[in-house]
């Protein structure tokens, strides 16, 4: 295949990379004055890349290293649009904090490029390079407020533990390469077709551990609460949404395309990780008084649900995982947008007590948080209910009904901590007035709340067939 057609297939990434390079020059020469311009440009580049991913040609390029199929298309559109939302949420917030820098949109762009590489990875090398490009940008973003010691701590912790997980992942990848004789998923699948040997399984377990770190599944979740608590709120909104979807799609792609012959083996590992994630996410969330930490445990719980769908190892499971991640991504971004909007005396409101009686002070945002909490809790008719419905249906259809029962049980303590937020907001004595809420963050929060109900119903009608199409690309029965 010649270079031109290869570049056409990889057009979204080419647009992102070239756009980043142009905007770096604009920012470097324009200085701090050009921050707004670079932000707008980055948003435009992301939307354009999403359009290119949506209507671009499909196929494989660069000797199988880059795969553009329905799954990549589906997740790329979601990832790029969510990254654009992250810029819309983060850039004005940084300006208000007087720490606006033109590097913020650039790092989001580079992270989005990395996520694009991840969801399109066709071999172990692009898998690793995509993860690394995305994570390095996220480490820097987590430490973005370098004068805040908690932000620096979050960045450093994320970096050190991320480096450890990359080490595990690379060790697994090198073992798989050694035993299968190729880095390409298709060739690995051919090599392990007749059943995987001990060496490949050993490598696969390390690969799964490394990726479980990236999706913050327990028992590899230790970094999550600290990073969520320390990093700036709008940046956490970014970290918790798009990268998780990218990592889950990569996870599914590596397992489904690289190891269809060892489905039984990886299923066991994923089931165990899903069970531990659900248990940790549900129980450890109970003792959290800080809302950002609480949402970190909630994300661990939700990743457990997504992994449960994936563990079913069927096309329906992959479809459920994709739908679940997209709906979860919108919910959680909205939640963090509400947290970004709320401030008291110039300090972010993060502790549960800060939200006491919020409904009498900020009724609009309190309603939005209520809708989003109920959605995360999985109450019908909110979007969280539909996403959980897909996941549980897929798990039961895949024969994993004990896991599904465990998931239902785990959602009971989780329900308690979401309801506690509502109780504090609606029935406690007000803790005082809040600062003026910025329009951009509130708009994103309210938009997500509106999406959780009623916009989710028409959206699901469109999402369902698209996700089915995307799941077919994983080539499972």
């Amino acid at each position: 295949m010649d270079l031109t057609s290869a570049l056409q297939i990889a057009l979204p990434e080419v647009i992102l990379a070239l756009g980043t390079l142009v905007l770096i020059v604009v920012g470097a020469f324009g200085g701090e004055k050009s921050t707004g311009l670079v932000g707008l440009g980055a948003g435009a580049v992301l939307v354009e890349a999403a359009a290119a991913a949506c209507w671009g040609p499909m196929g494989q390029a660069f000797h199988g290293g880059f795969v553009a199929d329905a799954a990549a298309q589906f997740s790329k559109v979601a990832i790029y649009l969510m990254s654009a939302v992250a810029i819309a949420l983060g850039a004005p917030w940084l300006r208000r904090k007087r720490s606006a820098k033109f590097e913020y949109p650039l790092l989001v762009l580079l992270a989005a490029t990395g996520m694009g590489v991840m969801v399109s990875a066709g071999d172990l090398i692009s898998l690793y390079i995509g993860i690394e490009l995305q994570s390095l940008a996220l480490y820097v973003l987590a430490a973005f407020q370098r004068d805040d010691s908690r932000s620096s701590e979050a960045g450093l912790k994320y970096f050190v533990l991320g480096a450890l997980s990359s080490g595990l992942l690379l060790y697994g990848a090198s073992l798989i390469y050694g035993f299968a004789g190729s880095v390409r998923f298709a060739d690995i699948a051919a090599a392990v077709h007749a059943g995987a040997g001990q060496g490949v399984i050993f490598g696969l377990v390390f690969l799964i551990c490394g990726m479980a770190f990236k999706v913050s599944a327990a028992p590899f979740h230790m970094w999550t609460p600290d990073v969520y608590e320390g990093a700036p709120t709008p940046i956490v909104a970014f970290i918790t949404a798009a990268p998780k979807l990218a990592a889950m799609v990569l996870f599914a792609r590596a397992l489904a395309l690289g190891f269809p012959g060892a489905t039984g083996q990886w299923q066991q590992v994923i089931v165990v990780i899903a069970l531990i994630s659900m248990a940790v996410g549900a129980l450890a969330g109970l003792v959290q008084r800080n809302l950002k930490r609480l949402l970190a445990y909630s994300s661990i719980l939700n990743i457990g649900y997504a992994l449960m769908a994936m563990a079913a190892g069927t096309e329906g499971g992959m479809q459920a995982m994709l739908v679940f991640m997209v709906l979860y991504m919108i919910d959680v971004t909205g939640f963090f947008a509400c947290l970004t909007a709320l401030q008291r005396d110039g300090r972010p409101m993060e502790r549960l007590e800060d939200f006491a009686g919020l409904v009498r002070v900020r009724p609009g945002l309190a309603l939005a948080i209520t809708a989003l909490s109920l959605s995360l809790l999985g109450l019908p008719p909110f979007s969280g209910f539909w996403s959980k419905y897909y996941v549980f249906k897929a798990a039961i259809a895949g024969g994993l009904w004990p896991v599904a029962v465990f998931g239902l049980v785990a959602s009971v303590p989780a329900a308690f901590y979401y309801l506690r937020i509502l109780k504090t907001m609606w029935f406690d004595e007000p803790a005082g007035a809040t600062d003026r809420t910025p329009g951009d963050a509130s708009a994103i929060g309210m938009g997500a709340a509106l999406f959780s109900f009623p916009l989710v119903l028409p959206a699901l009608a469109a999402l369902d067939p698209l996700a089915t199409l995307a799941a077919r690309a994983f080539g499972l029965a």
């Binding site: 580079l110 390079i129 490009l133 430490a143 050993f202």
Partner: protein, 203 residues
């Protein structure tokens, strides 16, 4: 065969011993020096395998750049290594258990390798008589162009990150401006003052 075997055993023993030294040396500078020795002997092992390009890469990149950078960091940062080491005895049981577990797993895997041959079904490069430097060069910028470019973006992120996290524009800092320095003339820099005897000069 004989000479190669001797070389292998010498290099392997030195690698393992110096790797052990990295973790046990009390002085962090010695640790880094042991690390350099480990890299160097590992490079020797690569040469024995016939991978001379990787060997040179290991020496140039790891010994030449990374390890020396470590050495700078260790010597310039005032890290209290005694306190870092304080938990060593406390964490030894669990760390040791993990290490033993890993060792057993590695032995199992090596057993599997010895039994079936790791990549027995993998064909070596075609019979053309090319060095492995040339073989890598042929594919790095062609077949692996994509990975190479994305790796470039990773380095770009590292650069932007370093600038974002460390560059501070402080006002009132004296900077060297070469143009101003060379453009200085007698008129601006020198003042001839008639000083009265016994009074001196007041600013």
């Amino acid at each position: 065969m004989g000479l190669q075997a001797i070389a292998f055993y010498v290099l392997a023993v030195v690698t393992v011993a110096s790797a052990f030294g990295v973790t046990t040396a009390r002085n962090p500078v010695h640790s880094v020096l042991f690390l350099i020795l480990t890299f160097f002997t590992a490079a020797g092992l690569f040469v024995l395998l016939g991978a001379e390009f990787l060997a040179m890469l290991l020496v140039v990149v790891y010994v030449g750049a990374v390890a020396v950078l470590f050495l700078f960091v260790v010597m310039m940062l005032d890290v209290d290594f005694a306190s870092l080491r304080a938990g060593f005895a406390r964490y030894l049981p669990i760390g040791g258990a993990v290490a033993v577990f890993l060792l057993i797993e590695m032995i199992l895997v090596s057993g599997a390798v010895a039994e079936r041959g790791a990549a027995a079904h993998v064909k070596p490069l075609s019979g053309e008589n090319i060095s492995n430097t040339e073989a890598i060069g042929r594919v790095l910028y062609t077949d692996y162009l994509y990975d190479f470019q994305i790796a470039g973006l990773v380095l770009l992120v590292a650069m932007i990150g370093a600038i974002v996290l460390t560059l501070k524009h402080r006002p009132g800092i004296k900077r060297q401006t070469v143009a101003d320095q060379t453009g200085r003339s007698v008129r601006g820099g020198l003042q001839v003052v008639q000083v009265k005897v016994g009074e001196g000069i007041a600013e």
